[in-house]
């Protein structure tokens, strides 16, 4: 009886990491972390940035070696000196930035480095490759064309290619790092179906995400890390979001959003019948000074295109844009900045930061003219200005000369925010400002937004996370397929109503 129970436990624990510690120089990234995941289950790993999730997973994948602690897979002790060994032991990682060969087909990617032999040992049996991919996809109910070029696939489908790659290598443990961060609602659903299918077929999934809502819906177990330690592990059914947040930060969710004393002034931004080709269609809205207006919608609904058109990146095809009572023509970001418009782009690494330049340069880049450095730069004066603005929003860095890439995600975002604070803009557009940053930094971003509103700025806040829209905005605009389909007072609406407007065709 006891023996049987032991066997049962033995079978269930696909992976057991015990007492893992890891130091990087003086920094203790992990201390005595124990973690186990069962076969056929989804185990979510959550924690703020820097809590040690990635380090733990990189140890599992053989990228780093632990200072102490053991890894058991299927009851066997393992030690990985190299990522290949982890792969051979049945562990696959799917990173946030997918590494697929974009110009190859799905089947070619799935079998990359593993190709079935053709007539000669150095040729590839393409037909077998496609057949096998098709069979594998079918056995997991994935709908994907093995002959499609990866470049033409949606992000969710690319994730499925990665999953297939793992399955071909007979991986029993699949680690997914923030797989949904760039997926739309519908794509996320598709990916979740795939994950559930994997679970059904006895594969264990370790799932890292910042999106707590999706974790509570998907995971069987949740482990919360904080400062390199496991603070809590429990079946997901017994946890809810406020509890998880509590464990992550030691704060309650209701302290999360700053309280707002709304003093809404005169209209500052007036957009009328704005169109931009097929991207956006006859959009009209107003934003008053002191008002935070949210913009909701599914991925591809045209929210970012509205921002890009207002900021002069896309050329508008018709409509007017009035700022502070004056009709303005914006043809480039430079025009927009001159007119005191700020745009925090949704992808800070791609369109926001010059990663290996100093923070101070990044902060002053659009502002050199406006801080009295028309053509010539005074480094000392620049340093003084930058330090002042950085202390206002408490950026953590070794100094303004530190390169942006050396900062954490949250602090990188703050560098960009500092840039627009310095520009002293009247109208600020924030596009997904909290994406991929930890809970603590999110809270700080909300506070900054709130302070800006209190200072009488007009703010357009684009977000895919409804809770934060509800936590901070006064009004929510809803976009669907390039059209503005609703403008609702935040206090008088519900998340269901917004989702309905955003997702359901009339």
């Amino acid at each position: 009886m006891i023996q049987q129970e032991l066997n049962e436990n033995f079978r269930q624990a696909a992976l057991r990491m015990t007492g893992i510690s890891k130091c990087f120089g003086p920094v203790q990234a992990l201390s005595k972390v124990s973690f186990q995941s069962k076969t056929g289950s989804v185990h979510a790993l959550v924690g703020e940035n820097g809590a040690g999730k990635s380090t733990l997973m990189k140890i599992l994948a053989g990228v780093y070696q632990p200072d102490e602690g053991t890894i058991e897979i299927g009851g066997k002790m393992c030690r990985f000196e190299h990522p290949h060994q982890a792969l051979d032991a049945g562990i696959s990682m799917i990173y946030q930035e997918l590494d697929l060969a974009e110009h190859l087909t799905v089947a070619e990617n799935v079998f990359l480095g593993n190709e079935p032999e053709g007539i000669f040992s150095f040729t590839i049996n393409k037909k077998a490759m496609i057949e096998k991919t098709k069979d594998l996809a079918q056995s997991f109910n994935f709908e994907i064309d093995p002959a499609a070029i990866v470049e033409e696939l949606s992000t969710a489908d690319r994730q499925i290619v990665e999953i297939l790659k793992a399955l071909v290598r007979k991986s029993q443990i699949i680690v997914m790092d923030e797989p949904t961060s760039s997926l739309s609602e519908k794509e996320t659903g598709k990916l979740f179906d795939a994950v559930r299918e994997l679970r059904k077929q006895n594969i264990s999934i370790i799932y890292i995400s910042h999106r707590l809502e999706e974790i509570t819906g998907l995971a069987d177990d949740i482990t919360i890390l904080r400062d390199g330690r496991v603070v809590h592990t429990e079946p997901a059914s017994k946890l809810d979001i406020p509890k998880i947040v509590h464990y992550m930060v030691g704060r309650e969710l209701n302290e999360f959003f700053p309280s707002r004393s709304i003093r809404i002034g005169r209209p500052v931004v007036k957009v009328e019948n704005l169109s931009c080709g097929k991207l956006i269609n006859n959009i009209s809205f107003e934003i008053c000074s002191g008002e935070i207006v949210g913009m909701a919608g599914l991925l591809g609904a045209g929210r970012t295109d509205v921002a890009r058109t207002l900021f002069g990146i896309n050329k508008k095809t018709s409509g007017t844009f009035e700022l502070d009572g004056k009709i303005i023509e914006i043809n480039s970001p430079a025009d927009a900045i001159k007119n005191k418009i700020a745009y925090l782009t949704e992808d800070r690494k791609k369109t926001g930061l010059c990663l290996h330049l100093p923070c101070s340069w990044n902060i002053t880049l659009p502002n050199l003219a406006s801080i009295g450095m028309k053509n010539f730069i005074m480094p000392k004066e620049e340093q003084r200005i930058v330090e002042k603005i950085a202390s206002r929003i408490s950026i953590k860095w070794s100094g303004p000369d530190a390169t942006v890439e050396s900062l954490s995600g949250g602090n990188q975002q703050k560098v960009l925010i500092a840039r627009w604070l310095l520009a002293d803009s009247v109208f600020l557009i924030f596009d997904e400002p909290t994406r991929g940053i930890d809970v603590g930094a999110k809270k700080e971003v909300y506070t900054i937004l709130n302070d800006l509103a209190c200072a009488g700025k007009a703010i357009l806040f684009i977000s895919s996370e409804l809770p934060e829209l509800f936590g901070i905005t006064d009004r929510i605009l809803v976009m669907r397929r390039g059209n503005l389909v609703g403008s609702l007072r935040t206090k008088q609406t519900t998340q269901e109503q917004i989702m309905h407007l955003a997702a359901v065709e009339k």
């Binding site: 990087f24 120089g25 920094v27 990234a29 820097g50 380090t55 900021f311 990146i313 480039s332 970001p333 430079a334 927009a336 900045i337 001159k338 745009y343 782009t345 791609k350 369109t351 926001g352 930061l353 010059c354 990663l355 290996h356 330049l357 340069w361 002053t364 880049l365 659009p366 050199l368 003219a369 450095m373 028309k374 053509n375 010539f376 730069i377 005074m378 480094p379 050396s406 954490s408 840039r419």
Partner: protein, 319 residues
């Protein structure tokens, strides 16, 4: 710390070469004349390298500077002869020099305009213009050189015992350092090279600033070309073949990254001097110029390897 070592490394190598040579060949190497000689030999590549540094920081490349130099020399010398007859003097030489420099500026502007307006990769555009400029300079006088016997001031004239070309190089280098450190344009050059998209979103007029970089590089190539022309008192249509590679090598040895966003004028100057002293050292030690090529090739690869190593080391520590 690593960053510091990385920036210092070319300088240390330069000092090392000078020290070793001073020990081996104190009589011929460690003399005022030899140093002046090495410096003035490095001015043509050095002046071109100032512009190339800016180009490479923007993540671009300009393969046409060598051929452009030949064309500038030819056009400049042609103008001198057209104004001042077969043995031009004084005024004609000045105007010719201006024409030569202007030619470089126009060539550079053309490179910049093609790259920004047609959105073509700089490598391809300048590969094309390199061939075209060379062809033009050969067509101009049916492949023959223009002799300007009176044109020696830039190449071998001196101000207070210091050759004019060194003075010009020093002045231009100083201006370049100031430009990168204290002007908005210099800042924009780094931003464009580090992340063009981000620079555009921050209101930088990318096309204008990039065109300016290539134009100024053309202008500098023009100045360098006139010094080269003056040194040989004739404009050769085949002058400066492969010079663009020496120039790029100097910039890369100086620590600039071909992927953009990194590089300094000081590094480039040290890179230029390093190559010059290396060549001079080989010469004094009686190493043939063919072997020199091998030595310089090895130095380029070594410099970039060390650069990569120090860089990847600083990356392995987390966050």
């Amino acid at each position: 710390m690593n960053k510091f070592v990385r920036q210092l490394l070319p300088f240390i190598s330069l000092m090392l070469i000078i020290c070793i040579m001073s020990v081996i060949e104190p009589d011929t190497f460690l003399t005022f004349e030899n140093f002046i000689n090495v410096l003035s030999r490095s001015t043509v590549e050095g002046i071109m390298a100032l512009g190339m540094t800016a180009v490479i920081i923007t993540a671009g490349i300009d393969l046409s500077v060598g051929a452009m130099g030949a064309l500038c020399g030819m056009v400049g010398a042609w103008a001198m002869i057209a104004i001042g007859g077969p043995d031009p003097h004084g005024f004609a030489l000045t105007i010719g020099t201006m024409v030569g420099i202007l030619t470089g500026t126009v060539c550079g502007l053309m490179n910049g305009a093609l790259i920004t307006a047609l959105k073509l990769p700089p490598f391809i555009v300048t590969l094309g213009t390199m061939s075209a400029f060379r062809g033009l300079s050969l067509v101009m006088h049916s492949g023959k050189p223009y002799d300007v016997p009176g044109y020696h001031y830039l190449g071998s004239g001196a101000v207070m015992h210091i050759p004019v070309c060194i003075v010009i190089f020093a002045l231009l280098a100083f201006l370049a350092i100031l430009t990168f450190r204290y002007t908005r344009w210099g800042r924009y050059i780094y931003a464009i090279g580090s992340n063009t998209e981000a620079a555009f979103h921050a209101g930088v007029n990318v096309n204008f600033n990039l065109t300016a970089v290539y134009t100024v590089t053309g202008l500098l190539a023009g100045i360098a070309a006139m010094i080269a022309t003056s040194r040989t008192v004739s404009a050769q249509p085949t002058a400066g073949i492969g010079r663009e590679l020496d120039v790029i090598a100097a910039v890369v040895i100086g620590g600039a990254s071909l992927s953009g966003g990194r590089g300094t004028i000081l590094g480039t100057i040290i890179g230029t001097l390093l190559i010059s002293f290396l060549k001079n050292g080989c010469l004094l030690l009686g190493i043939s110029s063919n072997v020199q090529l091998i030595v310089i090739g090895a130095v380029i690869i070594a410099a970039v390897t060390v650069d990569q190593l120090t860089r990847s080391q600083s990356k392995t520590s987390p966050k």
